[in-house]
């Protein structure tokens, strides 16, 4: 008879088949002498294995006493794993703190910029304003060579001033967001790994 079910006979013998596969193997076994013989040989093997006796071990009470004498004073707190766990949970906290810092620094910097634009800051406080140095502005350089004039020069200056504040903030925040998402992905993988193994996959047809 073609399509023997020998590959499923072990699982059948162990009571691990379900639904369609179980019915298929049962139905096949009714008619197939080859698979019947194979199943019988597996049953014989199992019986034979169980004939190997278990020797007399030390009694559990005595064994427990013996082991107790060999144990270190306290269970090792596995500092490496504890530190790892601590470090692991510090990552999102650190990222959140970094995000708050970057956002706050950006807001404060913008406030100083606005204050500076309105002339509210004197020269001693001007260093607080990021990108306030005209010497460093590329639009000013272009203006010196008359490549930009009038409204265009003003517009480019405003754009440059804005981008000098916004782009670093944007880069920082994207970096933090990427790191945070990576942490969530790893956390999710760690969480799902063990439950999936415990559930396992039912062997069905």
């Amino acid at each position: 008879m073609p399509n023997h079910v020998t590959e499923w006979l072990n699982a059948y013998l162990d009571g691990e088949l379900q639904n369609g596969r179980l019915h298929m193997v049962k139905a096949h076994l009714v008619e197939c002498k080859t698979c019947q013989a194979e199943l019988r040989s597996l049953q014989d093997l199992s019986e034979l294995l169980h004939k190997v006796p278990q020797p007399e071990f030390t009694s559990p009470e005595r064994f427990a006493t013996q082991v107790n004498l060999l144990l270190p004073q306290k269970p090792v707190a596995t500092p490496s794993s504890s530190l790892f766990e601590l470090g692991w949970w510090l990552i999102p906290i650190g990222l959140l703190a970094a995000w708050i810092f970057v956002s706050t620094a950006g807001i404060v910097s913008n406030l100083f910029s606005v204050a500076n634009n309105f002339g509210l800051l004197d020269s001693t406080a001007a260093w607080l304003v990021s990108g306030s140095s005209d010497a460093a502005n590329w639009t000013s350089t272009l203006g010196q060579f008359s490549l930009l004039e009038g409204n265009s020069l003003q517009w480019f200056k405003a754009t440059e001033s804005y981008s000098r504040n916004v782009i670093p903030q944007f880069v920082w925040q994207v970096s933090i967001a990427v790191l945070y998402l990576a942490w969530i992905a790893i956390w999710w993988a760690r969480q799902t790994r063990h439950p999936r193994q415990q559930r396992g996959q039912p062997i069905e047809g």
């Binding site: 190997v52 071990f57 060999l70 144990l71 004073q73 596995t78 794993s81 063990h194």
Partner: protein, 188 residues
């Protein structure tokens, strides 16, 4: 008042040696059986079982309370038995030559005494590859389901199935080579 195993584990994790001793008493037999079936020597099995519980005590903080303590211990036991076997290679039979019957001629002479049969089967199990032997031991002697073996050894259920199929096939082939299983079947 009877204390639950979860409570005993919790106390042991806090350093309570009496609670851990109680856990040893509960699981000693199972652990010793697993390591004995893995290595086939009582003294080495007891050493491996001791090592299992010492390792369990040392790493108790990494045990997850919602999982099976027995299976966690079995996993440590299988590793301890494997380590012990690597140190004590001499206890394993080297080849099937060790399994040859006294008289190789076909016929009723092949039927050996019950004691000899048992020794031969045990040796045949010890000749299996470690990974397949561990799955066979957990299934045949500890009665773990495929799912439990999967969780204990941290391998997929499909791998449990294939290792078990392989172990039984190899065992059957080895024993049949020695006309032993056939004799068992014929005289059953």
């Amino acid at each position: 008042m009877e204390i639950s195993e979860t409570e005993q584990v919790s106390r042991a994790q806090s350093g309570d040696r009496n609670a851990f001793s109680e856990l040893i008493r509960t699981h000693a037999q199972g652990v010793m059986n697993v390591v004995y079936r893995m290595c086939g020597d009582v003294h080495i099995a007891e050493d491996a079982a001791q090592e299992t519980f010492i390792q369990a005590w040392m790493h108790l903080s990494s045990y997850r309370p919602h999982t099976s303590l027995r299976n966690w211990l079995y996993r440590i036991a299988v590793n301890a038995a494997t380590d012990m076997l690597r140190k004590e290679k001499r206890i394993l039979p080297n080849s099937m030559d060790d399994l040859q019957l006294m008289d190789g001629r076909p016929g009723p002479e092949l039927v050996v005494s019950e004691k000899e049969r048992i020794i031969l089967v045990q040796k045949a199990v010890l000749l299996l590859p470690e990974a397949s032997r561990a799955v066979l031991v957990l299934r045949e002697y500890e009665g773990l389901s495929y799912l439990e073996i999967s969780s204990t050894l941290d391998i997929p259920v499909g791998t449990v199935m294939s290792r078990l199929n392989y172990a039984r096939k190899l065992l059957k082939d080895k024993l049949e080579q020695n006309s032993f299983l056939q004799a068992e079947v014929d005289y059953a």
